[in-house]
């Protein structure tokens, strides 16, 4: 049975997440087609065709898919799904938005955020903020799945899949794109960074996040945050790490002024090495930290930046 992978892309470039989803598809086994839907996405399709293990890239290049709105995207995938046993997407906000809609249109359940493939119909996924891992089996003929990218190592490049156009055009008179305010940053993307430096409520205000920027610059790191820091308006929502934010698993995660609530741990406890900086030696974050430093972040951060 073949597998359809929905490509993730922004600003005309294939997102790193797709190579992880293709890896999950390889673990399931079967021919892998990648669907690239959007407007002006020829370069995305070419990049997808180079991913190892991809048999074919199907491109729906049309204004109807310009902002990946759920209604036309789901209609498109529904129209193609008949050829496949599995439909996969990254568990990004985009994949999470579109795929359950596809599943319901096909009257099948969705399996969210898988982290391992046990068999083509059996998967592991975290539940209860990652405090339990469930092994689940789908009884549906079509398996609709989102993939937690940190669970699968990205496939490499070297493939040369064929690219073919998809003519299907979904009409949509129900939803309209109005605007987007996207964060601009020269730093690596949170999900893909090798080092993540995150700040919590202990940072005190948004201005103080500059203390983290200095360290992030030296380490080539992405900067993240706890929910409390986002809620307080220190930093934008796209920086939230946790159960209901982004899931990261870098080589090194540095938590600064973060207490370590289970919802935050859910988003970072699979990091290889965890460092915690907190003035409260009882803070739960120290229970998961490989290296804990008790002290005032306002003393520690400038010294750390200087000594790195």
């Amino acid at each position: 049975m073949s597998i359809l992978v929905l490509a993730e892309h922004q600003d005309g470039a294939l997102a790193g997440a797709t190579a992880h989803v293709v890896a999950a598809a390889k673990a399931i086994g079967g021919d892998i087609d990648v669907l690239v839907a959007g407007e002006g996405v020829a370069a995305v399709a070419e990049a997808a065709a180079r991913l190892d293990g991809v048999s074919k890239v199907r491109v729906a290049d049309n204004a109807a898919y310009a902002h990946q709105l759920a209604e036309p995207m789901a209609a498109l995938i529904e129209a193609l799904a008949g050829d496949y046993g599995h439909v996969l997407a990254a568990a990004s906000t985009s994949g999470k938005n579109v795929l359950p809609r596809v599943a319901a249109l096909k009257d099948v359940a969705q399996i969210s955020e898988i982290i391992a493939v046990e068999a083509p119909d059996t998967f592991k996924r975290p539940i209860y903020a990652g405090n339990a891992i469930a092994t689940v089996q789908s009884e549906d003929a079509l398996k609709v799945i989102t993939v937690r990218t940190t669970g699968f190592d990205a496939v490499g490049e070297g493939g040369s899949a064929g690219v073919e156009a998809v003519d299907f055009v979904a009409d949509n008179n129900q939803s309209t794109f109005i605007k987007e305010a996207l964060a601009e940053s020269d730093r690596p993307e949170l999900g893909a960074a090798k080092v993540v430096v995150s700040g919590g409520r202990g940072m005190g205000n948004g201005e103080n996040f500059k203390l983290l920027d200095g360290i992030a610059d030296k380490l080539g790191a992405a900067v993240g945050a706890s929910r409390a820091a986002v809620d307080a308006g220190f930093v934008p929502n796209d920086m939230q790490v946790g159960q209901t934010g982004k899931i990261v698993a870098p080589e090194l995660y540095v938590a600064v002024g973060i207490s370590g609530a289970i919802q935050h741990l859910a988003g970072m406890k699979d990091s290889k090495v965890i460092v915690a900086i907190n003035k409260d030696e009882e803070a739960p974050i120290f229970q998961v930290a490989d290296y804990g430093l008790v002290g005032d972040l306002f003393d520690i951060l400038p010294e750390l930046e200087q000594k790195l």
Partner: protein, 249 residues
């Protein structure tokens, strides 16, 4: 305009769960249960729409066991006008819940349906999108701002890169993100009044839907425990350990 809000009974978000010894599921005996936090946000938004005069009636709905009526009473105390309980003792996941909700949308004809973005037990993040598909209605997930204007609603969504604003034609489905609002607490007099508000009980059979999950739960395990590490006493020691022991610098 009528607003339908979906609420789910889940484990209280402060509770650390345990896995059953036989690995069949998570152990929920004697565990504190509560309304899913994202559903609290959904109820709050609906009640605010009513307070602004945009909504005329707020109807809270749950699909689940008898005990879930507690969460409906909470919704009523927070300002919902009436409640519908679709009673089922089966393991109901997002698709089953969405099917029951879709039938209620057909019966009730709300202008807006508000759900949480994710139930914090299964962490599925599916039901709103599925309900939108089943009803053929437009969707705006992960909302941080909702503005109803005539027969349209503008919704700002929290997406991976930042914020996105969409306009949907009503009726529509919205799911809540954390920063949509800060839910109020129920006051004692409102809790008393809520006991007298209407609560209808229906069965999935009444609605003509199947709600039991078709995904088999084969096994539940605790995650790999992380060993707590060491405390270092200075920045110098930290940098040294990261370079020479962990080798991540």
């Amino acid at each position: 305009m009528k607003v339908l809000v979906a609420v789910k009974r889940v484990i209280d978000y402060n509770v650390k769960i345990r896995v059953k010894a036989d690995h069949s599921d998570v152990d929920l005996t004697n565990v504190k249960m509560a309304m899913n936090p994202f559903c609290e946000i959904a109820v709050e938004e609906a009640v605010r729409l009513k307070e602004k005069g945009v909504a005329t009636e707020v109807v809270a709905v749950t699909v689940g066991p008898k005990a879930a009526q507690e969460q409906l009473r909470t919704a009523l105390a927070l300002g919902a006008d009436r409640a519908i309980h679709v009673e089922s003792d089966e393991r109901v996941e997002s698709l089953g819940a969405a099917k029951a909700l879709a039938k209620l949308v057909e019966d009730e004809q709300p202008g807006l349906v508000i759900l949480g973005k994710q139930a914090i037990d299964t962490d599925n993040n599916q039901a709103g999108q599925m309900l939108a598909a089943l009803t053929g209605l437009p969707q705006a997930t992960f909302a941080s701002e909702v503005n109803v204007d005539g027969d349209k609603v503008q919704v700002t969504r929290e997406i991976d890169g930042g914020l996105q604003t969409l306009e949907l034609t009503l009726p529509a489905i919205v799911t809540t993100d954390l920063r949509l609002n800060e839910p109020r607490y129920a006051k004692l007099p409102d809790i008393m009044k809520a006991k007298k508000k209407p609560l209808d009980v229906k069965t999935p059979a009444d609605l003509g839907v199947e709600v039991a999950s078709r995904v088999k739960l084969l096994r539940v395990e605790p995650p790999a425990e992380r060993q707590g590490g060491v405390k270092v006493s200075s920045v110098d020691e930290l940098v040294d350990k990261l370079k020479n022991e962990a080798k991540v610098l």
